[in-house]
Amino acid sequence: MKKRRLLAGLLAAVMAVGMITGCSGGSSTSSGKSGGNEKVTIKVALWDYSNTKYYKTMFDAFTAKYPDITVEPVEFAADEYDNTITTQLGGKQDFDVVFTKGTPALSALIAQGHVLALDDFIAKDTSFNKDNYLGLIDQLQMDGKTYGVPFRKDNNLIFYNKDLFDKAGVPYPQDGMTMKEYHELAAKMTSGTGNDKVYGAHVHTWPSNVYNYARRTESFDQLNKDTYMNLKPYYEEILAMQDEGLIQDYGALKSSNIHYSGVFYNQQAAMLQIGTWFINMCLENVKDFNWGCCSVPNEEGMGNTNAVGGVTPIAIGAYAKHPEEAWKFITTVCGEEGAELLANTGIVPGYNSDKINGIFDAIPEKYPNAPEKLSNYINVEKYVIEQRMSKKTKDIDTIFQEQHSAIMTKSVTIDEGLKKLIERVSEVEAQ
């Protein structure tokens, strides 16, 4: 009996010890790999690694160029990437390279001190030329320092289904449309009812699907409350289109989580305003109709001079063990080699050159249903970042999402919504 009790006590103690050690065991295993002679392993934090082919190709190309550097990808779920990476870096994870989803995420990481300033690396590296990035390096600055190099950039375009336009005998949408012309075009292209209905256009549910029209002409800026009222004509036009049934209802789209891509692939909408990542998606998924694109409409009739969109910057983690190697990695994947690989899949790289433009212009040779001269929309005079760098960008973004949904579901009037937007952003600025 006594022995049995002793045994029980012992078992319990072992269990207790097991629990303590059990929970700390996970994290310490990965760092001990780089034991070989001066071989260095860099940790790269990113999303969608396992389902995106070009990452692996790119990393292999990098390792071929620098045989002493091994790349260890650390993948996180795409949907929660921003929040996960913040928490991971909060725990001082030693990622050398940190992919970020955009300017709001990068701004937040900078404010938290989770990423390194790159100015010294840029100054030392004579082969790095920031002119290849359409002024984006400077737009990625915060407090006068540079923290990111654009891996990808995605400006917004109107994608359209040429076959539907041909069938209706309506001329294709053109660069420099006004919102009114866009609206009228959508009306001409709407046909059918019920399940056979073809909508003239499709407006996805992000706030940027409305404000980017105004942002392209720089009449709107998230960081400047005085410009918020300039969104009014755009909301009016989009809501009118919704009321007339020319686009799918915002609330219905939200409730059923409809992805814009299916709507376009299945020819349920003649036009779609979305980012240039859709070029790659169309190349892979659109086989049975011809498609084209043009610049997004605006009230000022601006043609193809400006482009508006987001950037996917890459940064160096603040707790990196090998920042020098990380910089080599960044300049490779964000440089000409990486850019070519990206461009060949129809994804617009942050890096710009004649060669890259040539790749985009050659797309119809391989994909006859794709448009000619895509470089017109990639090699633009001015690239306007949709959300500027600021510590408050993420908070402001949340407020925009809230008020956008209120306006689009007509829970409030446009004036009320925009007024609320101004109030809430003032609140955030004051905090």
């Binding site: 006594k2 809230e402 949904s405």
Partner: protein
Amino acid sequence: MSKDNSQIKKTKPLARKKTLVAYSFILPNLIGFLIFTFIPIVFSLLLSFCEWDSGNPIKFVGLKNFIVMFTKDSSFWIALKNTLYYTIVTVPVTMAFALFLAILMNKPLKGRVFFRSVLFFPYIASLVAVAVVWMALFNPDRGPVNSLLLAVGITNPPRWAASTTWAMPTIIGLTVWKGMGYYMIVYLAALQGVSAELYEAASLDGANKWKQFLHITWPSVTPTTFFILMMLMVSTFKSYDTMYITTQGGPGEATKVLAYHIYNSAFVSSKFGYASAVAMVLFGIIMVVTLIQFKGEKKFTSYL
């Protein structure tokens, strides 16, 4: 066994040994509780007086977070109001349905086991799946619910999750439907403990069904009602997952509850100190409500 008997005389060392063995059994769980629950709560309490963005050093700011919360953050008040709305409606409605169904399922009904399982099913199903189905049912344009309403002649059916007025009722409906099966089972267990003699005696005295319910069933299940009330209150106050999956707090801020506000402040805006302060307020509310219920339970179940 005889050895054991001889040891009883030396009670003290034995008792101590027994206690030690008991502690050693509690220990693993206690350590888990300390590491994963207690320490984080204390840390969160301390954090609520600080500013921390997960990167820069923690900075003590005194009551600033609370002052900002109460005076400068309109979202907090909206979230508080929404939380109260959500809780005050969800809790009684869930309880009423659960009790009603339990009484039905307590009758010798044909296929009773089948119906019980059907009613319990939403509870065991994954919230994500259930929520997606619910949203599809209540789709404002294509959903079967609105098609039905249109078919019976209602020309302007509610736009459900796509309207600031109806979004919260839609989510409440989902919560009630998902949770009532579980509480029905709990009520069912309580009902089966009520002596059949009481009902017999009452019906002999001429009490109708409603009287029987009022004077026998309801008082007999009061302790269960308190238990369910408490569990439901706590879970609805803390609720956030349903909103996260269905409406992301929208449209506007119509379904933003306190727990969602905490999530947003902490993991989207990286204001961990501020989020902790809101969490402390939520904790305080839940604690006060629970204490009141403890007191109430003693008072209202004293006849048992």
